[in-house]
Symmetry: C2
Subunit: 255 residues, 2 copies
């Protein structure tokens, strides 16, 4: 099987122009096929504020009313995505900016209303593997933002970690996928205040233990849940690390 690299970058890279440029230079140099998935960062929140729209968060997830969805479409799919695409093109990457609506690549269901109504938030239902592979076969580098659609004309806000994980899992039918989550730390840390405490390899039983001890908590939990879901579902390698590609080796997730 041919290798495929799927890299997710988060807000810490997006929000800092220097970090983003440095990352994109390195990303452009990686061999194809490769897929980039980016989060939104603080620009969406700031743009919403400027437009007089207040942002509601529950358990680290944005509540997406109609006004917030439009901000997400503008900032994720417009401003950030096209900035990344233009920069990658300048570095010789055949980049193509995408949402899940484009080519019906990522279809999602609106999250059911239970204790919380997340609004226009989608849980991934299917990845269009054949269509995505048509792009990769054309030496095209897909660049996804964190938006999907329901197939009936409705755009949906979808967590970028989840998109990365679902894309990596789906493409594992055709490729040996290396999935990399880049975030603000050098890896999963035993002590969140000590950057040298990177856990080189993490298996599920250690993860459960660290979680129950409270050493791993809050935002790391959905990220690691996505990472373990990916490795269990056939993704070849899953790594959590800082965006500086040459830097640390980060944390390898063991299935």
């Amino acid at each position: 099987m041919q290798n495929l690299t799927v890299i997710k970058i988060g807000g810490n890279v997006i929000d800092n122009e220097t970090s983003l440029t440095t990352f994109l230079e390195k990303f452009a140099d990686l061999p194809t096929p490769k897929i980039l998935i980016h989060g939104g960062g603080k620009i969406a929140t700031k743009t919403a504020e400027k437009l007089g729209i207040s942002t509601q968060m529950v358990e680290g997830r944005r509540i997406t009313d109609q006004a917030m969805l439009e901000v997400a479409m503008m900032v994720y799919a417009g401003l950030i995505n096209k900035n990344i695409v233009a920069q990658l093109q300048a570095r010789g990457s055949r980049a193509l900016g995408l949402t899940g609506a484009d080519l019906d690549l990522i279809r999602a269901d609106k999250r059911p209303v239970k204790a919380v109504d997340y609004g226009w938030v989608g849980d991934v239902k299917s990845i269009n593997v054949a269509q995505l592979d048509y792009l990769l076969k054309g030496n095209i580098t897909p660049v996804f933002c964190a938006l999907s659609h329901n197939g009936q004309g409705q755009m949906l806000n979808t967590n970028a970690d989840t998109i990365a994980s679902e894309v990596a899992i789906a493409m594992s039918d055709l490729y040996a996928v290396n999935l990399v989550f880049c975030f603000e730390k050098r890896g999963v840390l035993l002590d969140v205040n000590d950057e040298s405490s990177v856990i080189n390899q993490l298996n599920d039983s250690d993860y459960q233990m660290l979680k129950s001890q409270g050493a791993i908590h809050s935002g790391m939990i959905p990220k690691l849940d996505n990472a373990f879901a990916a490795i269990r579902a056939g993704v070849k390698k899953v790594i959590i690390r800082a965006p500086e590609i040459a830097d640390s080796q980060g944390t390898t997730i063991l299935g």
Copy 2:
């Protein structure tokens, strides 16, 4: 040669939800290959106002400073483009939203500063025919907004009529292209206040005469210049008409 339909829709369609939905229903039913190019409408101006950015216009063209470029990226490439893509997907079209930066499809030069500095406005330099054809060969329907790039990381605002014309001309190497400009009138009118005065066929000498008489003026001139440029450069058919596809026949431009 296979037929290719290139349709440009303007602000009058974008700004009215019913018009847009009606148009997209009909567009989705057209045979492939086809390409859609859309303008921005009033949403960009309104969004800029909400963000406290003032819009400067010179001769019907927006002056694009950095703040306005970001609004254009957000509204054209994010909000409007992805809304159109999601709606087309719901109607079975394999739509792909694009700017000129994606796949390096439309490269432009920043317009030189003469009497007016238009800011981040680009004049089209090249269309990536091979890459666009790869999409069409995959039964993909490209949906362009009015943005290009300079190949060095800079996005540029580019007139949608011009993009339509340049794409139609470039694709005429491979296809018999039908280029349709949809706008708010039923066609080019002899009397702008009389919708029944549609000129069925317009050649260049009549155009020059009507222009010198002042019967054709202001916004129609760049549109017709693009239309004549297209027909002269090998586009098979150029029509200017209302968006209602079954409605009038509009004005056919004669080379």
